[in-house]
């Protein structure tokens, strides 16, 4: 099974838009959604309902909102960075009202990209490609 694309914090509409965009770009990896920072932590650490790594593979890409209930996208970012197997996994941070300091902090913490929310669905796939396409991402056709 392909590793997943972990999407954190999106509501249903945005999640669907992201799924559509990735499918449109022929990204075949499954998209897994976590509602908030706590759930993302459980997923990444393989805790609770996510203990079975066969069912819940480690992500190849993490796409997280900056502002999350129960935590921040920066927490997710730092967690992924500190995870031994995910050190090189690109993390894309999304927000529409980030301060300069927050953008700067996301970069310092090692985000592969920061995107404004209103452009994110359209440009995400291209940014994933630019982030130094990890081996784990499935076939991505050129174009679009």
């Amino acid at each position: 099974m392909h590793p997943s694309v972990l999407v954190v914090g999106h509501d249903d509409d945005r999640l669907q838009a992201t799924r559509d965009a990735l499918a449109w770009g022929r990204l075949t990896n499954p998209v897994v959604a976590c509602r908030d920072a706590d759930e993302a932590r459980d997923y990444v650490l393989g805790r609770g309902g996510y203990a079975d790594r066969d069912q819940h593979p480690l992500p190849a890409i993490v796409v997280t909102d900056l502002h999350l209930s129960r935590g921040s996208g920066l927490d997710v970012l730092r967690l992924v960075r500190s995870h031994l197997q995910l050190r090189r996994t690109p993390v894309v941070v999304i927000a529409d009202d980030a301060t300069d300091d927050e953008i700067s902090a996301a970069q310092h913490a090692g985000a592969a990209a920061f995107l404004a929310q209103h452009v994110a669905p359209d440009v995400l796939l291209g940014v994933i490609r630019d982030s130094g396409m990890p081996w784990a991402v499935g076939r991505v056709e050129m174009g679009a």
């Binding site: 894309v92 300069d100 700067s104 990209a113 359209d122 440009v123 291209g126």
Partner: protein, 455 residues
């Protein structure tokens, strides 16, 4: 243009030339004014208007080069004859120059003045037979109605300014002067004074000319990797003069050579300081006019300036705009020689009208600066984001260093980073400032987080 004169000689020679250039030796003498006044008086009685026309054959030099001086006279005479012998309008030739210019007055029905004049000019702008060939005269016109209460000398000045300006911007066009009450119409005399003042600044008072520096930043680390030297001219009476106006005036008059030299020398001197305090990789970006590049001795001047300052060639980047102008052989030779010297070459404002990817590939450049027009949309609009990303991808295939210009917000910087752009420049990263204000604390050295540092 006295491109090979010394700065001092070129200054005076150019000023003289400037007068000739606006040439058509047509002094507004009292006899000319009284002749026009007479025509105007006659025209007014019959519900007619008097229109003054200043004409210039904008391709006169080419005609003379290809077909000879005599052919130019033939063309000029034919253009003037067509004006005078036009069926519907009565015209009178007031002054003529054998170099293709003339001043004429045309009496036309007041209500249809412009239409009648355009009709006349339509018949003037036709092929002229020359020996066993034909020539297309590029007839550029400045025109103005001379109303009863207008100062005649002012109208003459206005139409001549108009034809000069039109010849520069739209050869072969007709430019009508705004209502003559408009005091801003007198651009040519203004320009002449501007050029004089610039020449004076260069020769007598170079302290009027200053360089400001804008940082070029590594978007990943926030470190300063270079600076672009930007010319500022503060005249004691005019105040600050727009850099674009200054450079355009210098380019038209040959003053670009001494001006470019002054900028290069000062920028290199500054570079020696920042190579010590910021790092040995620090690169100074200096703008170069295409006109400088056409001078075969430009390479020697750059080499001499590098030796004098002690700056290694690779720490200098010469920025060039308007790549379309760079394809002639002299310029290419200059660019190749500069590359052999080890100097970096950059294309400025990539993505605007004058640059193309095809030109880029043929030029020995190692840096491309993406114009702000391609940057300003990346924060707000996903199609702009994708366009810019595609342009960056295209330019990256050339294997050059890419600098995004005009970054004004953190989100723009973040998006550019997200699409793999490494270097940037813009107000968000640092405004152009005098050298003293360039570094937050002089001597500290290792750059800074320009964006949103907690301090």
């Amino acid at each position: 243009m006295p491109a090979n004169a010394t700065p001092h000689a070129s200054t005076s020679a150019t000023l003289a030339l400037g007068l000739d250039e606006h040439g058509a030796t047509l002094p507004a003498t009292s006899s000319l004014v009284s002749a026009i006044a007479e025509l105007r008086a006659g025209a007014g009685e019959r519900h007619h208007a008097l229109v003054l026309i200043a004409a210039s054959v904008s391709n006169a030099a080419e005609i003379a080069d290809v077909h000879g001086a005599h052919a130019l006279e033939v063309v000029t005479a034919e253009v003037a004859r067509r004006t005078l012998q036009h069926g519907r309008s009565r015209a009178r030739l007031l002054r003529a120059s054998p170099l293709g210019g003339f001043l004429a007055a045309v009496v036309v029905e007041r209500d249809l003045a412009r239409a009648r004049v355009e009709e006349l000019l339509g018949d003037v702008r036709r092929l002229v037979p020359v020996a066993d060939d034909q020539v297309w005269p590029v007839v550029t016109i400045g025109a103005a109605e001379c109303a009863a209460d207008d100062e005649i000398w002012a109208v003459i000045r206005d139409v001549r300014s108009a034809v000069t300006a039109a010849g520069r911007e739209a050869p072969g066009a007709t430019r009508w002067c705004a209502a003559s009450a408009d005091a801003t119409a007198s651009t040519v005399p203004d320009e002449l004074q501007l050029v004089r003042d610039l020449a004076l600044a260069l020769t007598d008072d170079p302290d009027q000319l200053l360089l400001h520096y804008q940082p070029v930043t590594d978007l990943r680390s926030g470190r300063i990797v270079g600076a672009e030297a930007l010319l500022r001219w503060r005249h004691p009476e005019r105040g600050p003069v727009s850099p674009m106006v200054t450079v355009e005036a210098a380019e038209r008059t040959g003053l670009i050579v001494p001006l470019g030299r002054l900028v290069l020398d000062r920028a290199l001197k500054q570079a020696t300081v920042w190579m010590r305090t910021i790092g040995r990789e620090f690169r100074m970006h200096v703008n170069v006019s295409p006109l400088e590049l056409r001078d075969p001795r430009y390479v020697d001047r750059v080499a001499a300036a590098l030796v004098e300052s002690g700056v290694p060639p690779e720490n200098l980047l010469l920025e060039i705009t308007e790549t379309a102008l760079l394809t002639d052989d002299e310029t290419r030779d200059t660019l190749l020689a500069l590359r052999d010297l080890g100097v970096g070459l950059g294309i400025d404002d990539f993505g605007t009208g004058y640059s193309s990817i095809a030109h880029l590939q043929r030029l020995p450049v190692d840096t491309v600066k993406i114009d702000r027009s391609l940057i300003c949309g990346v924060a707000g609009d996903s199609s702009d984001f994708m366009l810019t990303r595609a342009v960056l991808g295209l330019v990256q295939t050339l294997g050059v260093m890419i600098v995004a210009e005009g970054i004004e917000h953190a989100v723009e910087a973040a998006h550019l980073r997200s699409m793999g752009c490494i270097y940037g420049q813009g107000y968000h990263l640092g405004r152009p400032v005098p050298a003293e204000a360039f570094l937050p604390s002089e001597g500290k050295g290792t750059g800074r987080w320009a964006s949103a540092s907690p301090a």
